[in-house]
């Protein structure tokens, strides 16, 4: 997994990071649309909005971090690692500036990271640059190239059934459960790359996926993986057209009204049988 590779970076790069080191990186920039963010301009908003959780050095050790205990709450992100869950880029690569901007704007459901969409676009772009200045990865690597997402096809009963086959084949149920209730046989054993307990996503409780709740977002989540977590990238296991089938099937678990739910009900679709032989590709 890419995140593991990242963790293999020389520890000395970030373990002893000091304010002095960070000051040397204040020239970091971000580019979001036609807005250029500057790290040096984000010192005040970071101190105002972010430092309580992410800490002065961006290592996720803010004053409130000890009170955010997984799996109820996730610990604040350690920006020094340069590992991010929500990306449009392949696993193991750095996210784009737009990815970080979207994360700040969207926030993360079921965490203490709120939506910062009240901030101006410039402030958010500056904060993206500030986040980047914490990790040496940006000095040495370029962000990955965003994955290509083909146009969303029409939802059909056949595609939903095909999605269920994908769900069974790549064994999503092992963590997410056969009905998407986060109660699969592996769910209780999950830990993130830092060894902290982590919960699988429960599709049925009405909450939103952390990295966005559009069909495209869900497609992107399992095709890029959530780096730093047990959720891998399935880009090598699922073809693009199959990925849309899986999106449609996952929609049938969710509380929100959808065409997929209606079709699944008409089909009388049963959950996957974990004891049945996995469907072949």
């Amino acid at each position: 997994m890419g995140a593991t590779a990242v963790l293999a970076l020389p520890m000395s790069l970030w373990a002893q990071l000091t304010q002095y080191d960070l000051n040397a990186r204040l020239g970091a920039e971000s580019h979001v649309g036609n807005t250029t963010g500057h790290a040096k301009d984000a010192a005040l908003p970071y101190r105002r909005f972010c430092v309580g959780c992410h800490g002065p050095l961006g290592d996720g050790n803010g004053e409130n971090a000890p009170y955010m205990q997984p799996p109820m709450y996730q610990q604040p992100r350690d920006f020094q690692l340069g590992v991010f869950k929500c990306r449009s880029t392949p696993t193991g690569t750095l996210p784009t500036d737009q990815d970080l901007y979207d994360a700040i704007t969207r926030g993360f459901d079921r965490s203490n990271m709120p939506q910062w969409n009240t901030l101006s676009k410039q402030e958010r772009a500056d904060l993206v640059a500030w986040v980047k200045h914490f990790s040496p990865r940006w000095a040495n690597e370029k962000p990955g190239t965003p994955i290509v997402i083909p146009p969303e096809p029409e939802v059909t009963p056949e595609r939903i059934k095909a999605g269920r086959d994908v769900f069974a084949r790549v064994q999503c149920w092992k963590c997410h459960g056969v009905q998407g209730m986060a109660n699969g046989p592996s769910a209780s054993t999950l830990t993130d790359d830092l060894g902290r307990p982590i919960a699988a996503f429960n599709f049925t409780d009405g909450s939103r996926p952390k990295c966005g709740d559009t069909d495209k977002d869900i497609y992107r989540i399992f095709m890029t993986g959530l780096d730093g977590t047990p959720m891998p990238s399935f880009a090598d296991n699922i073809k693009p057209e199959e990925a849309w089938d899986l999106v449609f099937y996952l929609r049938t678990f969710m509380q929100q009204k959808s065409k997929e739910k209606v079709l699944a009900k008409q089909l009388g679709l049963k959950p996957v049988d974990p004891n049945a032989p996995a469907p072949t590709q």
Binding site: G52, C53, N64, G107, N112, L119, S120, E123
Partner: protein, 503 residues
């Protein structure tokens, strides 16, 4: 915080003939309790520092405004109390030990010779000393996801409590941020919130524009800075850039027990839109309008007006524009305008015959002859010839320099100018203004300056402490004592230093 009941200038011994003017000043002072709404209880719940929601505690920034508009929720699916440690109880208290110096000009005082009274004179009265603010107990949060509450028992510095704010709010009805309903006693939806004001002196701790009442006017019900009893609809866009609200409140200035009109209501309407202005920040412009009516005739028993019996409603209105402008991350300016108008009956001193104080009690026993007491429009009363609607215009400019989340400098300039006095040119026996004939065009005009800074030595998500320093100067035209100085002006100033803390 109910600061003004303690920070008000020393009691002035005005002459009887100017008691009406004094009442106006007293209303300005007494009616403006200031519960701050900075809640470490919220910070503890969500692990966010005070500065995340507050430009400087207790004034909200845009994120804090959105948090409030969402019903004190981050909308992170962890807002319901079921997600909190069972021992968590959302309580915050706030109190401020202070030292202040109050100087009131042109106070009429008795003179003596050989121990015997010889008359009176006018002089400046200055007093200083250590003091306390009132005490606020804020409890607020969610009862369940999308059901919020607020309960604020508040005392003055003597420990006399009242319910400053109490409401339940249904949030995001139909899963839409455009449908939120609040019922109870609450602050009107003012973008520049007096309940989150950064200043604490008697005259600087309120917005004069929110409380201005013409001299002699009996309408206390149009004070948009006071918490009101009613029902409010509020809606906003997901990013809070667009906000609208409409409230219907009892025309009682927030007094409980149906103490005033029998059937009088006031509407308060707001709308605003914010714009992203690049490096300048997010700018917001909006409007507000208060349109209502209140009683002028109270049934009497033995000549004493009966609470809750008010009829003969007359109209009043307050409307204006609000702009919140940011000039980068450190400098901002808020502008509030107001055009106010009262029915001529109010202008002649009819209205608050009960003498309610805004907290459910009464201000005083009114025993003096009219016009020093609010008048009662009993059947057969005729409006004096020449009486007209008092109208005025007010402006508030408040700027901040935010050096850091821990240090803010504050400057405010307010001006309230009468554009039409209640006593017109044809008045010979009017009861408005100072009584009698036509009022001077500038009677009651107010100019006020406030400067100060607040320094928070630490900034965490657990508690708040601000070293507060402030100076206020207020000038009012024509309401001073008349001894040899008709239409004398009053200048009042106050210096205040304190440690404003909450936990």
């Amino acid at each position: 915080m109910s600061t003004l009941t303690r920070f008000r200038p020393g009691r002035l011994s005005f002459s009887t003939s100017f008691l009406t003017a004094a009442l106006v000043l007293v209303f300005l002072v007494l009616s403006a309790s200031q519960p701050a709404s900075a809640l470490p209880a919220f910070a503890r719940k969500y692990g966010l520092r005070c500065s995340a929601c507050h430009e400087s505690w207790p004034m909200l920034n845009y994120f804090g405004q959105k948090f409030k508009d969402n019903g004190y929720q981050l909308m992170n699916d962890r807002d319901a109390p079921i997600w909190q440690n069972p021992g968590y109880w959302p309580v915050t208290f706030r109190i401020t030990p202070i030292w202040h110096r109050v100087s009131a000009g042109k106070v009429e005082v008795d003179t003596y010779a050989d121990g015997n009274p010889t008359g009176s004179t006018i002089q400046r009265v200055t007093s200083s000393g250590f003091d306390l603010s009132g005490l606020d107990f804020h409890t607020a949060g969610t009862l369940e996801k999308n059901i919020s509450f607020y309960l604020l028992p508040s005392s003055d510095s003597t420990g006399a409590f009242h319910f400053e704010q109490v409401f339940v709010r249904l949030d995001n009805i139909f899963h839409s941020p455009w449908f939120n309903i609040k019922l109870g006693r609450f602050e009107l939806d003012n973008l520049l919130s007096e309940k989150r004001i950064l200043t604490l002196t008697g005259n600087g701790g309120i917005y004069q524009t929110y409380h201005f009442i013409p001299v002699g006017d009996g309408n206390i019900f149009g004070q948009i800075g006071d918490n009101q009893l009613g029902l409010e609809y509020m809606g906003h866009s997901v990013d809070d850039r667009t906000r609208i609200s409409a409230a219907i409140v009892s025309s009682s200035d927030g007094n409980v027990n149906l103490s005033t009109g029998a059937n009088s209501y006031t509407g308060f309407f707001t709308g605003s839109q914010a714009f992203d202005a690049g490096r300048m920040g997010v700018q917001r412009v909006g409007f507000y309008a208060m349109v209502g009516e209140a009683a002028t005739y109270y049934l009497t028993q033995g000549g004493v007006p009966l609470g809750g019996s008010g009829v003969a409603n007359k109209g009043f209105s307050r409307e204006g524009f609000v702009g919140q402008f940011y000039f980068g991350p450190h400098v901002d300016l808020t502008v509030v305008t107001q055009h106010g108008s009262d029915n001529p009956w109010f202008g002649q001193g009819y209205g608050n015959a009960i003498l309610t104080d805004g907290n459910g009690g009464t201000t005083a026993t009114c025993s003096s002859p009219t016009p020093t007491c609010p008048l009662n429009n009993v059947p057969g009363t005729a409006l004096p010839a020449g009486a007209q609607s008092p109208t005025w215009n007010g402006y508030t400019f408040e700027g901040h320099y935010v050096y850091s989340p821990q240090l803010i400098f504050i400057g405010r300039y307010e001006v309230e100018k009468m554009s039409q006095q209640a006593n017109g040119a044809a008045c010979t026996a009017c009861t408005g203004g100072l009584g009698g004939g036509q009022s001077a065009s500038n009677l009651g005009n107010i100019t006020s300056y406030t400067v100060g800074f607040r320094y928070n030595p630490f900034m965490t998500s657990r508690a708040g402490l601000a070293w507060h320093n402030e100076y206020n100067w207020l000038h009012q035209d024509g309401t001073g004592p008349a001894i040899g100085l008709p239409y004398a002006n009053i200048n009042t100033s106050e210096v205040l230093l304190g440690l404003d803390f909450d936990f």
